[in-house]
Structures are given as structure tokens and as C-alpha cells.
Assembly symmetry: C2
Homo-oligomer: 709 residues x 2
């Protein structure tokens, strides 16, 4: 579209854009909104970026940095800065020692810079070549890009413009549980963003915007396809498609990985077995790796879910997980690739079941510590069951000193209300990462070589289904960069970037209470895995008829006339012995067990006296009621925020918060109705009876619930 510029037109266009930016945001821009600053802030930012100088030859990564800086300045100030070739006063200078000799060994910044490694950056007001500049310095172009995003973040939020930062973890990964047909297992935000059919010829603009968003957080790897993988993803047409994505992500420092199905060569009928010790199989994988690296020279490697939930694996050939992982590791090692081998395993159908599913991963993997090849990482979920609203940390953390571990969090909220219910996961990440393992490694975070987040990203316009679920992507990325980051600080940053400074404080308050709210109305006091079958939506503590005992909610809550909870002490499954002795001792006694994990580790009588002096039964009811009350509080707090939020995002979240209240009431009523039917206890005065009889809740079904993949 071209049109003639005129004053009248200018005025009217202005009115349009003013209306549009004040009125309606659809969330597509995520936290990279680059909205206009107030005048005072503009002056400050302007003074630091009168020109943008990146010495040396442009690279795709410095071009990305320049483009984003100009986009940010155009948004915040209304005009871009001219790229300049010479350093002048007021320049925003992006440089590595290779690009600017002044940053070399003689530089006063040399030591600080050297300590930042390949991906770190520093932001500094300084003098270069006799000029006052704002310096973004790093040892590599990707460090410059990260620094550019940090500078933009600071500019947008008014945070201080002087800092240095380097990632504490080497691998900061998203895992897409995205299928080749664009369905997404446990996806609640539309289809997969990866349009495999259209690739490699048709490259959606989203791929670039996805790269920008991730680079702004420091995420440096992405597994494109579901861990429940298919053989076809490793055929030539799909490798070409993955290569097209890799080409788009590469300038942003993001490597592409693929989930590999262990039986791929056998299923493609190119070998006669998938036995990891078979020379034929080893040769096939080596050739396949060569084929991949030919078109994706920086291919990250494979993620593998083996011998778990029906997936094939080395145990099918009486080999160990280490045998399987090391075979794949050998194939990618010549190319500097890695293998991430998931510890989420599960006795095969018909095999002897452990007395406690929570113990299985530790039992299988702890003995393998030291057996894995150097380029194998074991990827362990944050807890030993499965991404519950709250779990104690997985006992493998701190227990495998010879094996690099990657912690797998679920960003998508399979068990926390899909993309409807508000649940800021920063607090969940923080709670897990900061827990002391009581081993030599200290906090859980110290045991890690990387973090992987099961993505909540889909084709929905706002990427994540709800606006607030963007915060979980953001928090994952920021905390993968720095696992010691505080959830509240990250929330504040996100809220300011997403809704503006005026809304920051009340939005942060909502976020910080949100996950505990969900825990309370779903699984208070350490309850877990009492949700609906298959889709995992809604309450179903009564389910007791599934094929495997450890699929049933009754297996986990063990409620009966005598009490409730899973005894994982020495009197029970003794899962506690998988933890360091100090933790095992502390948690062996309900009196010293954190209340939030009480029923995770103990089976207690209904009249057990809680710290509140209430009985366990009464306390359980209090928690469920608190969950509902807090869901209503979230709803009310959002209503109060209406004047500060644009109309569209306000309405979209309002609808979700209304639904969340209904969901909270459903959980509360169904669980109380069920547990009352088991305990036989009356509701204390003042506790509202469930709206319907138990049979009503049992009768509810959710056909076509999303995320079945």
C-alpha cells in the first residue's frame, strides 16, 4: 500500500494508531511490545542510542541485534537510530574483542569480559575512542544479541542500564511435544507452530518471531517434535524441513534438536533390529547423523524417551538405558552433538511394578551413574511423579554426581488448569530449584547442566492460549539463564513489559498467589494425581478401575475410612530412602515434614492434628475453601485492574478468570464430596456442602478435551 502523505491523513492515521495501541492488543508481541515510553524515559533512552555502532563485518546475529534495537527504539521513541560506522558521543556500541581491539587484553574490561564466557554480556556507560558511549560487550555475536535484548528490557522497564550477565546453565531448552500432524500433546494453545506440511518451502513469519522471543530470554535450543516420536521425522523430507527451521533460528543462537524414536531404523525397514549393540544399527545411526549434519551443521542432537509409556527402547533388547543412550551418543559425537536421555520411565505393561511409581526412575538410573558417554545428559522431571501442581524435588537430583543432568519442567499446564486457569509457574520453578538436596551439591539448581521446558507455545494468536501463560514461557527462559533468579523479580519484569509499569505491582501480586491457589483447589497438603483420566482435566479422585494400579488416583491418595495419604516412609514404600539421609529423616516424621508435602509422604488419620490445631479433615476443607476464595480474589483483582489494561486483553483474561472460578468450585466440591464419602465425616459448621451429590461429579465427562495429541 502506498499513499500520499498529507497533514490531514497524518492526523487521522495518528488517531487510528493511538486508538489501536490504547485499545486493543492481541498478545502476539509477547514481552517485546516496545510501546512508547513517557517523555522523561524517552530522553534517557535517546541519550544512550543516538546512533548504533557495531564495528566489523555484519553477521546474521549482529543483523538480528540491529533489527531488534531499531524495532525497539522505533517503538519506544518513535524513530530508529541510524546505524553508524564511527563511534561518536551517545552511540550504542555493540562489540566483541574481535570486532573492537580496544576490548582486548589491554582493556580494563578484559577480565570481566573473559569471565562472561561465550554467551554472557556486559552493559556499561564508558568511554571508547574518546567518546561517551553505551557499550554492549561480549565475547561472541550471540552475547551481543543477548546484551541487546537486556538493554531493551532495561530501557522498557526503566531498570538500571548497567549490568553484566552470563548464563549459569549451558543448555536452556524448549521441548515441543508437537506431533508431525500439528496436534500438540498437552497443548492448550492451538496447533503446533511447526507447519511440517508447508515446510521447507513456506516459512511462517512466526518462526522468526519465535526465535526473537526465545533469544530475548537466552533460550538456546529447541526440540521440535514430541518425545513420543515417529520414525518419519528422521527421513530426508522431514530433515529438510527441520533444516529450514534451523536456518531461521541459527542467527538467534538457537540450535535445533529432534526427538528420536528408538526403533526408527527398524520401523523404516532399513535394519533388521533396533538393538543398540547391533553393528548394523550403530552404523545406521552414524549414517543418519552424518545425513542430518550435512544440512544442519550445528544440529544439537537427540532427545529420547525410551521404554516409557509404550515407547520402544534398549530394554526391548535386554540392554540398559546407558547402552541405548551411548549408541546414539556415538553417532552424534563426531559432530559435537549430544543426547538427552529421559529418566521418565515406567515399567512396561506386564512387568513387575515397583511398589511405588515415584521410585522407579531413581531405581533404574541411579545404578547407571558413571555409565553414560560424555555427550549424554539425563533429563529428569522436576518431581518423581509427573508435573503435578506441587511435587517434592526428584531424588535423582544430587544422586548422580557423574552424570550431567537436565531438569525438565512442564511449562504447558497439563495438570494446572490448561491455559484457562491462572498459575504463574515461576514460584514452582523457584521452589524446586532452591531446595537443598542435602548432598554435596547443595541446592537442586547446583546439580544441573541444563533446563528443559515442555513448551506451552501454539498457533493461538497470543502464542500460549492465555496472556498470563506467556509469563510461564518467560519465567522458564529467565530462570534457565539464572536458576537463582527470584520468581517475584521475574514476574515483575514480565508484568512491566507486558502490561506496563502502572499495572506491574498488582499483576505481580496476582501472579505470586496464583499457583498456590491452584494447588489449594486441586491437590492441597501433598495430594497428587487425582485428576481425570487421559485428558487430565478436572477432579476424579474416585477413579480406581484403570488397567495399571499406578494410573489410578486411588493409588496416590489412598483415602479410606482410616485416613488419607501415601506412606512413603520406611513403614510404607520407603521412597524417602532415595533422598539424602538428612531429608529422609526430616520427612520421616509428619511433624517435621513440610505441610505442603504431608500427604505425599504420609498416610494419616483424618483426625490427625495439624499445626493449625485443626484436624486433617478440617484442614483439608479449609484448603479447598481457600483455593476457591483465592480464585475469586484473582477474579476481583483483575476487575480492579480494568482501567490499566487494554480492552481486548482485559476481556480475554476476564473470561478465563471467570472460568477458573467455576473450575475451582468444581474441584473443591467434587473432592469434598468424594473424600467425605470415604471418610464418613460430617462437614464442620460453616463449610458449604458440595452443590451436587458425588454421582453428579462422577458423571461428568469431557469429550474432545484438548491436548491428547
Amino acid at each position: 500500500m502506498r499513499f500520499t502523505f498529507s497533514a490531514a491523513l497524518a492526523a487521522l492515521l495518528l488517531s487510528l494508531v493511538a486508538t489501536a495501541s490504547a485499545a486493543d492488543e492481541d498478545g502476539y508481541d509477547l514481552w517485546l511490545r516496545h510501546r512508547p515510553l513517557d517523555r522523561a524515559a524517552q530522553a534517557g533512552v535517546q541519550a544512550q542510542a543516538r546512533s548504533i555502532v557495531i564495528p566489523g563485518a555484519p553477521s546474521p546475529t549482529t543483523q538480528a541485534a540491529l533489527t531488534e534495537l531499531n524495532r525497539g527504539l522505533a517503538g519506544m521513541l518513535g524513530h530508529a537510530s541510524a546505524p553508524a560506522s564511527r563511534i561518536a558521543d551517545g552511540a550504542l556500541l555493540l562489540a566483541t574483542p574481535a570486532r573492537l581491539p580496544e576490548l582486548g587484553a589491554a582493556s580494563p574490561l578484559h577480565a570481566e569480559l573473559a569471565a562472561l564466557g561465550n554467551e554472557g554480556y556486559l552493559l556499561r556507560q564508558t568511554r571508547v575512542q574518546g567518546h561517551n558511549v553505551t557499550l554492549i560487550a561480549a565475547n561472541s555475536d550471540i552475547g551481543l544479541l543477548y546484551g541487546a535484548y537486556a538493554w531493551l528490557r532495561d530501557a522498557a522497564t526503566g531498570a538500571r542500564l548497567e549490568a553484566s550477565s552470563a548464563p549459569k546453565l549451558q543448555l536452556r531448552m524448549l521441548n515441543h511435544w508437537d506431533n508431525l500432524d500439528r496436534t500438540v500433546e498437552r497443548g492448550y494453545s492451538g496447533q503446533s507452530i511447526w507447519d511440517w506440511w508447508a515446510l521447507p518451502d513456506i516459512k511462517d513469519q512466526r518462526y522468526t518471531d519465535y526465535a526473537r522471543a526465545n533469544a530475548s530470554l537466552g533460550i538456546n535450543g529447541t526440540v521440535l517434535n514430541n518425545v513420543n516420536s515417529k520414525p518419519e521425522v528422521l527421513t530426508a523430507p522431514f530433515i529438510a524441513k527441520a533444516a529450514a527451521v534451523a536456518d531461521i533460528l541459527r542467527p538467534y543462537g538457537i540450535k535445533v534438536y529432534l526427538s528420536a524414536r528408538f526403533s526408527t531404523p527398524l520401523e523404516l525397514k532399513e535394519t533388521s533390529t533396533a538393538d543398540p549393540l547391533s553393528p548394523e544399527v550403530r552404523a545406521w545411526w552414524a549414517r543418519k547423523a552424518d545425513e542430518i549434519y550435512k544440512v544442519i551443521p550445528d544440529f544439537g542432537g537427540f532427545l529420547v524417551k525410551a521404554n516409557s509409556e509404550g515407547q520402544p527402547g534398549p530394554q526391548d533388547y535386554h540392554r540398559t538405558h546407558a547402552d541405548g543412550a551411548n549408541m546414539l551418543a556415538a553417532a552424534v559425537a563426531p559432530h559435537k552433538g549430544i543426547v538427552m536421555w529421559r529418566a521418565f520411565v515406567y515399567a512396561p505393561k506386564g512387568a513387575h511394578l515397583a511398589d511405588d511409581r515415584a521410585k522407579q526412575a531413581y531405581d533404574e538410573f541411579k545404578p547407571l551413574d558413571g555409565s553414560f558417554a560424555a555427550n549424554v545428559l539425563v533429563q529428569v522431571k522436576n518431581g518423581a511423579i509427573d508435573f503435578q501442581p506441587r511435587e517434592p524435588f526428584h531424588p535423582l537430583f544430587g544422586a548422580m554426581p557423574k552424570t550431567p543432568l537436565v531438569m525438565e519442567f512442564q511449562i504447558t499446564k497439563e495438570y494446572l488448569g490448561y491455559s484457562t486457569d491462572m498459575a504463574y509457574l515461576g514460584t514452582l520453578f523457584e521452589e524446586t530449584l532452591e531446595t537443598d538436596t542435602k548432598t554435596s551439591t547443595g541446592a537442586v539448581a547446583q546439580t544441573l547442566s541444563g533446563m528443559a521446558g515442555v513448551a506451552n507455545i501454539g498457533s493461538d494468536r497470543n502464542w500460549t492460549g492465555s496472556h498470563f501463560d506467556q509469563a510461564n514461557w518467560y519465567a522458564f527462559g529467565r530462570m534457565a539463564w539464572n536458576p537463582q533468579a527470584r520468581a517475584r523479580d521475574v514476574a515483575a519484569e514480565w508484568a512491566a513489559l507486558t502490561f506496563g509499569k502502572r499495572a506491574e505491582a498488582p499483576v505481580v501480586d496476582m501472579m505470586m498467589m496464583s499457583r498456590e491457589t491452584v494447588v489449594n483447589y486441586m491437590t492441597p497438603l501433598g495430594l497428587h494425581h487425582i485428576m481425570g483420566t487421559g485428558h487430565h482435566f478436572g477432579p476424579a479422585p474416585w477413579v480406581d478401575n484403570l488397567e495399571r494400579p499406578d494410573w489410578n488416583p486411588v493409588y496416590y491418595h489412598r483415602a479410606s475410612r482410616d485416613g488419607i495419604g501415601f506412606d512413603r516412609t520406611a513403614k510404607g514404600s520407603n521412597a524417602l530412602e532415595q533422598y539424602a539421609p538428612e531429608i529422609a529423616r526430616q520427612y520421616a516424621d509428619p511433624k517435621t515434614t513440610p505441610e505442603q508435602f504431608l500427604l505425599w509422604f504420609h498416610h494419616l488419620p483424618w483426625d490427625y492434628t495439624m499445626p493449625s490445631a485443626r484436624t486433617l479433615w478440617a484442614e483439608l476443607l479449609v484448603r479447598y475453601d481457600k483455593g476457591v476464595a483465592d480464585a475469586r480474589s484473582l477474579q476481583a483483582r483483575w476487575v480492579a485492574l480494568k482501567p490499566l489494561i487494554d480492552a481486548r486483553r482485559y476481556a480475554e483474561e476476564e473470561q478465563r478468570l471467570n472460568r477458573q472460578v467455576n473450575n475451582a468450585v468444581l474441584w473443591r466440591d467434587a473432592c469434598i464430596a468424594y473424600f467425605q464419602s470415604v471418610s464418613g465425616l460430617a462437614l464442620p459448621p460453616g463449610v458449604k456442602a458440595p452443590a451436587h451429590p458425588l454421582d453428579y461429579y462422577k458423571s461428568l465427562s469431557y469429550p474432545y478435551a484438548p491436548g491428547r495429541g
Copy 2:
């Protein structure tokens, strides 16, 4: 977001919006882009809309009209018009006789207005109450809304601002083949826009924009779910979800319909049979209709696919299609609902197969003419096979004088290159609608009570997968309003609205040649149904091993050493006898059969002499080569248009046109390789040999192709 207005800010915002509108469009706005006009055009439009007056009490529909007019004026002129309560010079006046007594029996416009029916409108420069106004008059508020869209269309394209129009067909419907899990059968533009899981609480902004787009074309009904329906859609939770959609669509004159699975009550275990003559079943459907109308008072009715491709139906109980349709019709009749009963039937597995699948619908339905209840319409595909790139009109048109017929077109391009290949279907619609049935009804269009289009709408940002596929939605809507509309005129309108006047002519040229291009590289000279199995992508004329003979491409092309084509004359299947005698006579002789249908009706030797004086074999090769050449021409024409198209839409279509060329070459090469293997004939000099041997083409597979639903 709020910010303080300042001149500096204004300038920078202006630069932003100017850049944004000139640079990047994502297609979401469809043909309702409302982009700024040039100054001369602005003056003209401004003069007609100094104020907007809608006398009488506002209704949701007049509010929709007012909102859209203001949106349009703000976009085209830069400012909205103040709604006014008094008529003044320069007012845009929207009125019905009920709203403005001057339009009553004494009005000079009375007769003209009366002739426009409930949905028509007129646009007129006239004097009212002594003032010069632009009048949009209609007999109902929905007529006013249609008139408002017509006025905006004229304003945007510079067309004349004086017209009257009324729809020629009563039912103008979209059929969504959208499943309850958001997959879309034959969908190539993402997921279903209907987020059943989120409904009814969460109402996507898209629902409103969908309503606006459809109302702008005059579409007045939509079937929300796939004809391959599921019982759950008629349960209370899903009825509530449909009701939420109906509430959003209602102000835009669009009724909601549902596809009903014939066996619903039986499958929900609420009856013991689905026999349409069972009193229990009849009572169930009557109660179900009451339940639906209670929450959707203007529910349109049911669309039914019965006894076709595995769907249940009345024949399961040895009842006729009329028995089935009339039973449902009785249930909705008290509520003024209708039943659309599809004629796309198919002998059940194991039953006697007709000698020609093309004959089946006629054989089954022609004898039922006169047996259907008054509120039953029979919905007939445009051709007798299945939405092929080209088909002769379905012989049922003109053959069921006592039954109202709805013609079903497929807007989604199942057989015409998905949403990748450019194929403007206006020419397909026109070709079918204007064909003379040679019966008393005349042209096919004269036989119709309605048109239904299988939607190509999905969750993709641009709605339809490619920008040019928006034109097919547009053309369907405009031609359902007026089946005599010319495809070229409709294309011109769409092109001007979508890409601007400067691009109109060359874009129209591309559109007008595009479908013939696809016919040539896929199925020239009357070939049909030679595509890949299941997904229907790509060439597969060699397939001969499917369970049913009439699923196999070889059944349709019948190529052998002696010749090619399906003999549907009296010597063959005699499908011709289903047409009027005059047509049957004309098509019985290959010399008088339109060349485009030659191999549809005739099996001819390879050396048959074509009108071009070439042999049939040589002509076939010429057509395939022309298809490829024209695909390349489309590609080149688009490149030439680059200066006139915004960068994003240009690039997105360019990628698709590049892929289309590859697709054209694939079809051409594979079909030539195959037909040559059958004919045993050499390629004439100058005809390029296929790039690969036949086995290569046979080896291609397309796992995870979209649209399998």
C-alpha cells in the same frame, strides 16, 4: 496502555503506522481492510457521510452496521462520522419503513423497496425531510447491514454509489467440516476456528470478525460441525457452546445449523434404535429440537450426511432417505427449522455397486422427488463425483422439480492443491451455475434454493491458508447472493479490496487463468479422480488396489493400451441418460462433447483426432505442458507485481507460487510417466521426458498430510 499525547510522539506514531500499513499486512482483515483512500476519493466519500443517522431504536444489527461504518470511515478517511439523531445534509441515512415513515406506502421508493424482500437494500442519493442524504434503505435491519457493507465496498473500490440488490437465493450457507477436537476434515488453514473446549465461556474475537466477513457477503447460515458428525454435538454442553456462537452471529443475520449424526439417540443410549419410523426415535428428536430451540430460538436446522462413506442412515433400517429426512424435518418444523439432506451417497460396503459411481445419487434421489417434507432441502454437490478440478454439472439439477435443492460447492481445495496452489474458484462456480440444464428450469442456477460452500476457513492468521484463497470465500458468498454474478467482476471487486486498485487488473488476470492452470496440470480433458489416496494430494493415476473399485484412479481414467477415458455413453455406463435428452444427445458424440469433458464421457483411442488436429495422446501432453507453463506464468506475474504489494503478503504468496510450480511439474511428470507406461507411445519431439522414472513417482508418500480430519 495510556500515554500522554505530544507532537513528537504524534510524529513518531505516525511514522510507525505508516510503515506498518505500507509494509506488512498479515491478511487478517480480509477484504474489510478499510485502508486510507486517496484525497479525491476521500472527499467524495466524506460528502456522503458527514453524519450517520439510523432513526428509531438501535438494534444489535443496526449497532453492527454503525460500528462497521465507523470502522470503515475511520480507515478510509481517518475519522469516524458522529452518529446523529437528526437528518441533515450530507447524512448517511440508514432506514427501514418502520424506522422512517417517509419510506412507507407514500414513498416514491415504496415499490422498489417492497420488491427487495426481507434481505435486499437500496443505496440512493436522495432528499429526505428536505435534506440531501445518502440513503441506505431496506425492509429489515439485516437489509440495512447488507446495504452498509455494499456502501463501504463501493466507497473502497470507487464503484458507483447507487444500486439496489436483493439475494437471488434464500439459503447462503457455509458448511464447516470442523470436528469437535478442532481438526478440520479437508482443512488446509490451521485448526477449526471453533474452539469447542473454550466455549461457551471464552469467546474468541475471531467469531465476531467471522460474522462481519460473512455478513459483508450476505452469507446467512453456517453449519458449525462436520457432516461426519458425532453424537456429542447434540448433548447439552455442546448445545450451550453452539448457542454462544449463535449469540455472536445473530446480529449479523447468520443462523447456526448443526450436522446431525443419524444414529445420535441410539449412540447416546437414549433410544433402542435409530429407525426413523420408531415413535421412540421420533419423540427423541422432537424433544431434542425443543431443547435446542430453547437456547437458540432461531436455530437453522440440521444438515445430514446419511448412508454415505460409512455414516449411519435410514437405509440401515430399510427406510428411504425421505423417511429419514422427513422424521428430522418433523422435529424442527414447529420451530420453523429446516433439514438439509445430502445427496452425496455411496453404496454401503458389500452392497451391489452401481456400474458407475457418478450415477448413484441420481439413481437414489430422483425417484424420491416429491416425497420430501416441505422443510427438507436436498443438498447436491456441483458434480456427480466429488469436487474435482472440473466436473460437468450434477444431473440432479433440473431433475427434481418438486424438491428444493441446495448446491454444495467445496471452497476448500481438497483436490485443487490445498491452500498452496492458486486456483480462483469463481470460474468453477460460474461455469457450473450458468450451464443450461436443457430442462424447463434453464440454467443450473435456476434450479437452486440455496448454495452451501464447504468452508476453507481456519485458525491461520489470514483465515484461509493463503491470501488468494480468501477470494474463494469471497466469490462463494457473492455468487450465493447472486448466482448470475460474473466471476471476473467478483474477482475485480475482491482484488481491489484486497490489494488496492493499482493491483486490480493484473491480479484479476492471474485469478482468471488460475483454475484452468490447475485443471491442465492435474486432470486435463475431462480426466478426474487420479489423485493420491486418502489425503488426495499429488498424482496417483496408477492406484488400482483399493478395497472398492470406485476408490481407484484406474476406475476413472480406464487408460490401457487401447485408449483412455470413462465411457458414460449408452455403450458404457450410460450415465448420460441422467441428463436431459438434448444434453445426452450432444455429449453422446465425442465430436460434439465439450473438449473439457471429453474423457469424462468417452473412452477414446490414443490416436483419436482432437479439434487441434493433434492426436489425443499429443493433446494430453500439450495440456500437461500448458499447465506447467501457466504455473510458471503465475509465478512470473506475481514477481512483476512486487512493487504494488506489501512485503509480507508478497513473500507469503511468492513462496506458495514457487511450490505450485513444483507441484505442477510433479503432476505433469508423474502423469506423463504413467500414461506413457500404459499407452506405450513415445513422447513427440520437443516434449520433455519426466525427470524421474515412474517408480520414483509411485514411491512418493505424504505422511501427515493435512486435512484428514
